[in-house]
């Protein structure tokens, strides 16, 4: 019987055939790198399913799904919060207009996520945890992931009536005043600021690491740097708002950023 099944498994990709051969060689050398799915993995899957079923049943017995009064368009909930996984976007509404917070940012995130495999030219560190081989990718992705979590946590736990900031020990009955003294720089300054941020952001990495630019090529480089600059624009804008009360970075007759 021997290794017969292995080779026929993925005949369609040269890549896999080569890899299959490598694996066969390893097997012949006596290294036992493979495990059988029956019953070893199937048993683990089964036990996981049983454990999860128990967890879900206990959870369902202990905590009831919420059910408030019947929907009434006339009486609004204050605060009305989106489901927790969208609360991050709702939190962004504090800092951005709805077309950015609710439409552009999620769309850009999704598109950028899909492009990741095509713009990451670093072939190393595939199939294992290898931080040192992929520092750039890992640092930026994790910061993004963390920001998403932080926004959710803030929106979910720290926002009270009128979407004001309430610490968990503060009572929601205390009315907080709405921020009023917001201002925006004039369009010329705003445009210069944005141009500087994106311009320098595109140029400096190229000068600092020519190697990176050469490996990516112009198209990939532009996409990568643009996505990263867009991503860090979010915390920068939040900082500008919190530290300097800046409402919009750029004001135009058609839209504000």
């Amino acid at each position: 019987m021997g290794e017969y099944q292995d080779r026929y498994e993925f005949p369609d990709l040269k890549f896999n055939v080569q890899r299959g051969k490598k694996r066969d060689n390893r097997m012949e050398k006596g290294e036992k790198k493979d495990m059988f799915v029956w019953p070893d993995l199937v048993v683990m899957e089964f036990l996981t399913a049983v454990a999860l079923t128990i967890i879900l049943i206990v959870w369902a017995l202990l905590v009831n799904a919420p059910l408030l009064e019947v929907a009434n368009p006339g009486i609004s909930e204050n605060p009305s919060k989106a489901p927790w996984y969208f609360v991050g976007l709702q939190e962004l509404l504090v800092y951005f207009d709805p077309w950015i917070a609710g439409v552009m940012i999620p769309s850009i995130i999704i598109i950028c996520l899909m492009m990741i495999p095509y713009v990451d030219v670093n072939p190393r560190g595939s199939g294992r945890y290898a931080f040192s081989l992929r520092k750039f990718a890992l640092i930026n992705f994790n910061i993004g992931f963390l920001m998403w979590l932080l926004l959710i946590l803030t929106g979910y736990f720290l926002r009270g009536p009128d979407w004001q900031l309430y610490w968990p020990w503060e009572s929601w009955t205390v009315v907080k005043k709405v921020e009023d003294n917001l201002w925006s720089p004039d369009p010329a300054t705003g445009l210069t600021g944005l141009a500087l941020y994106f311009g320098l952001g595109m140029i400096i990495p190229r000068l600092v690491s020519r190697d990176f630019y050469r490996k990516c090529g112009p198209a990939r480089y532009t996409i990568v740097m643009l996505s990263i600059l867009l991503m860090y624009f979010v915390p920068i804008k939040i900082f500008l708002r919190l530290a300097f009360n800046i409402r919009y970075v750029l004001v135009t007759p058609w839209f504000n950023i």
């Binding site: 019987m1 099944q5 993925f10 369609d12 990709l13 890899r19 790198k33 493979d34 495990m35 059988f36 799915v37 029956w38 070893d40 993995l41 683990m44 996981t48 999860l52 879900l56 049943i57 369902a60 017995l61 905590v63 009831n64 799904a65 919420p66 059910l67 408030l68 019947v70 929907a71 009434n72 368009p73 609004s76 909930e77 009305s80 989106a82 489901p83 996984y85 969208f86 976007l89 709805p98 077309w99 609710g102 439409v103 552009m104 999704i110 996520l113 990741i116 495999p117 095509y118 072939p123 190393r124 560190g125 595939s126 199939g127 294992r128 945890y129 990718a137 890992l138 992931f145 839209f255």
Partner: protein, 253 residues
């Protein structure tokens, strides 16, 4: 003892048993492979996997758990459909009915709800794991793209389900979401460069009206129980197929 054993043996040798289960449990390499190969449910697995792929340390089991939760949602969701009517006169009443009258109704609804929340968390963790292990690198680029689509579908499934109880929580949470949509550039009536009025914009298309009402409830319901689950099922099929075709679970090259 021997009588019992021989009965068991006779059952397993019977034509009926063997027509269902082709292989016995004898521990041979051949048998272990055939067990997987000849079972339609198990054969989404390869017969053998690299041993690191079976470790929780590597996958966190998050893809598998997400899949399991999806199945839980389908089963509990179908059961809930027996009791729930997506019209505003009944939707909320049916939730009350489930809570107070239907035997085990409250547990059914709770499981559906909590498993949905859990699924969102696990799908995000799964994505994080795949990124951390660099498993999106060639030849698995496309499966990552399929995965991102699954992520979006999972979010939308949860979001559309959120409206169905038709209580204050549901109504106002969906209001928040729907209000963002009207700010879409060009095709939202309050967005920059709006080309359409409030009766012809993308929000109207989603809600079937300018407000969240009977039409919105029906639309969300159809999306939630037919369109999105089908999309998810197809995408999961492609996702699993591609894991195999891309050379099985990723490993160090």
């Amino acid at each position: 003892m021997s009588r019992k054993k021989s009965l068991w043996k006779r059952v397993r040798r019977s034509q009926v048993w063997r027509s269902v289960f082709r292989h016995d449990y004898t521990d041979t390499r051949r048998n272990r492979i055939l067990q997987i190969r000849s079972n339609i449910f198990l054969h989404i697995h390869p017969a053998r996997i690299p041993s690191h792929a079976g470790r929780i340390r590597f996958t966190w089991c998050m893809g598998g758990i997400t899949f399991f939760l999806f199945i839980v949602e389908v089963i509990t969701g179908i059961l809930l459909m027996f009791y729930y009517r997506p019209v505003i006169e009944y939707a909320y009443q049916d939730m009350k009915y489930l809570r107070f009258d239907v035997p085990f109704g409250i547990i059914l609804r709770n499981i559906h709800r909590w498993a949905a929340h859990l699924m969102i968390a696990t799908v995000m963790l799964h994505m994080l794991r795949v990124f951390l292990t660099g498993s999106y690198k060639p030849p698995r680029e496309f499966n990552w793209v399929v995965g991102v689509n699954l992520l979006v579908v999972t979010f939308l499934l949860s979001f559309t389900g959120y409206l169905l109880p038709w209580d204050q929580l549901a109504y106002w949470a969906i209001t928040v979401g729907a209000n963002m949509i009207r700010a879409t550039p060009f095709i939202g009536h309050e967005g920059p460069f709006a080309l359409v009025d409030r009766y012809h914009d993308i929000r109207f298309m989603l809600l079937g009206g300018t407000e969240i009402g009977a039409n919105a409830l029906l639309r969300f319901y159809v999306l939630h129980v037919i369109v999105l689950p089908l999309a998810a099922a197809v995408l999961v099929g492609v996702h699993f197929w591609r894991i195999r075709k891309d050379g099985g679970i990723s490993r160090p090259l």
